[in-house]
Amino acid sequence: MAGRVAASGAIEVAAKTSLWLQPHRIGLVAVGLALVVSAALFMRWDWVPNYAGLAVQGLWRTIWILAVTSVLGFLLAIPIGLVQVTGPAWLSWPAYWFCTVIRGTPLLLQLWFLYYGLGSLFPQYPWIRDSFLWPYLRQAWPYAVVSLTISYAAYEGEVMRGAFAGVARGQLEAARAYGMSRWKLFRRIWLPQATYRALPTLAGETVQQLKSTPLVATITVVDIYAVASRVRQETFIVYEPLLLLAVIYLCITGILVFAFRKLEARIPARLG
């Protein structure tokens, strides 16, 4: 029995492969491989060992910033989306304008506004300099995290607004008829259903967030992009670091898309 299952699985895989591997694709793959090999042979890669340690640190920082800002941004997006659907005007109005303003201005400008603009005001106040936050406010990464979190929250908040509004009325009415409290209704019915609805956009938003992370290099946070820029400035090698950087981002995007697809497949997509 197990052998038959394995055999049919192998046949399925073989069928999929032959469907993908049409004759012209073999040619394209060959051309691609030739390009990669010639790039490896004829381009300069002798700088790689010198910068490998720095690159790993930079890569770690990129992934760390991506993970932290996405999670925090999503947690912020939930109340931002919710108050726009059900909240009183004094909450929904600021949430609406928060989304509009953040989505209407470039992230680079927001980042520089926080780092150079607010950052230049802080030292003028003695009570800020005396507070426990001051050691953090003097570094660059808190500004990067705050600004990327705000950006993610605004874009995803708009998605969550639609997701909360899209949950069928009947579901909420049924929950209320069961005598659920407002908080329980939110926790058990409204939030999970809205999250299912928002899940397909979440992958796209997270890739978008990954593509925003190199901006933090402009405020002196050393992520993987900053490492590549440094290689360019110190060795005057232009293409190789940038090409490698593009490949690294492609790989991270691939992993993200794959992970989200797995996550989506695990969650039953039955919506009321």
Partner: protein, 253 residues
């Protein structure tokens, strides 16, 4: 008065006195520079968006009706362009593009030229936009009711006539929301050109701010300009959308 508020009051007073001088349109103020930057930003966004739409129409037709090799290559183009940060692509295409053009010129026996930053920026952002609009336009063409295309074929229309009279006008209502979104992205992506040193709004703002040390004021002013651009765009987009849906039944296709 509470003593802790004194520095704040002093700054507010100073801001009120200075803000209009700083943002004045004539030379001692920097307002003129900001407006010039805004003009450049809009110029780049319009150019990039236009190139993006042309590439998108070509890419969408290639993906839908092209041969297997063309289809795979276009898939590669859209995947890579949408997976790699715009900043990296801008640097890569900017360096590679100018280098390539100069090498071709040298091969042909001409002198090296300095590529205009404006033109380079427009082309690079246009190529990136093209990947996104390929997907938008492909989806829109696929949403056209099949009968309309078949009817056009039955009338014996040539491919180009069908494109001009049927496919492009019929796909427009489906494509406009996506394209509008791309326009908003284009206006914001122009800020990235500040990193390669082009004088668009963000770069002008940074210059003004670092010269006068009034970072807060200038970044806030630039934010207001960008926001105004977005809000005005939204109003125009809503009009275009209504226009493109004229004659269609309300509330459904």
């Amino acid at each position: 008065m509470h003593s802790g508020n004194e520095p704040i009051d002093a700054i507010i007073l100073q801001l009120q006195a200075n803000i209009f001088d700083l943002l004045a349109l004539s030379p001692p103020g920097w307002g003129g520079n900001l407006m010039r930057g805004l003009f450049h930003s809009i110029l780049i966004a319009v150019g990039a968006f236009g190139i993006g739409i042309l590439l998108g129409i070509g890419g969408a037709f290639g993906k839908l009706y092209g041969g297997p090799v063309l289809r795979d290559l276009l898939e590669l183009y859209t995947t890579v362009m949408r997976a790699v940060p715009e900043l990296v692509l801008i640097l890569l295409l900017y360096f590679a593009g100018t280098d390539l053009i100069n090498r071709v010129l040298e091969l042909l026996g001409y002198q090296r030229i300095d590529i205009n930053g404006l033109v380079a920026g427009i082309c690079v952002l246009g190529i990136v936009q093209g990947a996104y609009s390929t997907e938008v336009i492909r989806g829109a063409i696929q949403s056209i009711p099949q009968g309309q295309i078949e009817a056009a074929r039955a009338y014996g229309m040539s491919a180009s006539l069908m494109l001009r009279r049927i496919t492009l006008p019929a796909m427009l209502p489906f494509a406009i929301p996506g394209l509008a979104n791309l326009w908003l992205i284009a206006t914001k992506d122009t800020a990235l050109l500040a990193i390669v040193g082009f004088n668009e709004l963000t770069q002008e703002t940074r210059t003004a701010a670092s010269t006068t040390k009034a970072y807060f004021t200038f970044f806030l002013a630039a934010g207001v300009l960008y926001l105004t651009l977005t809000l005005v765009s939204n109003v125009i987009i809503a009009r275009i959308e209504r226009w493109s849906r004229r004659g269609q039944p309300v509330g459904g296709h």
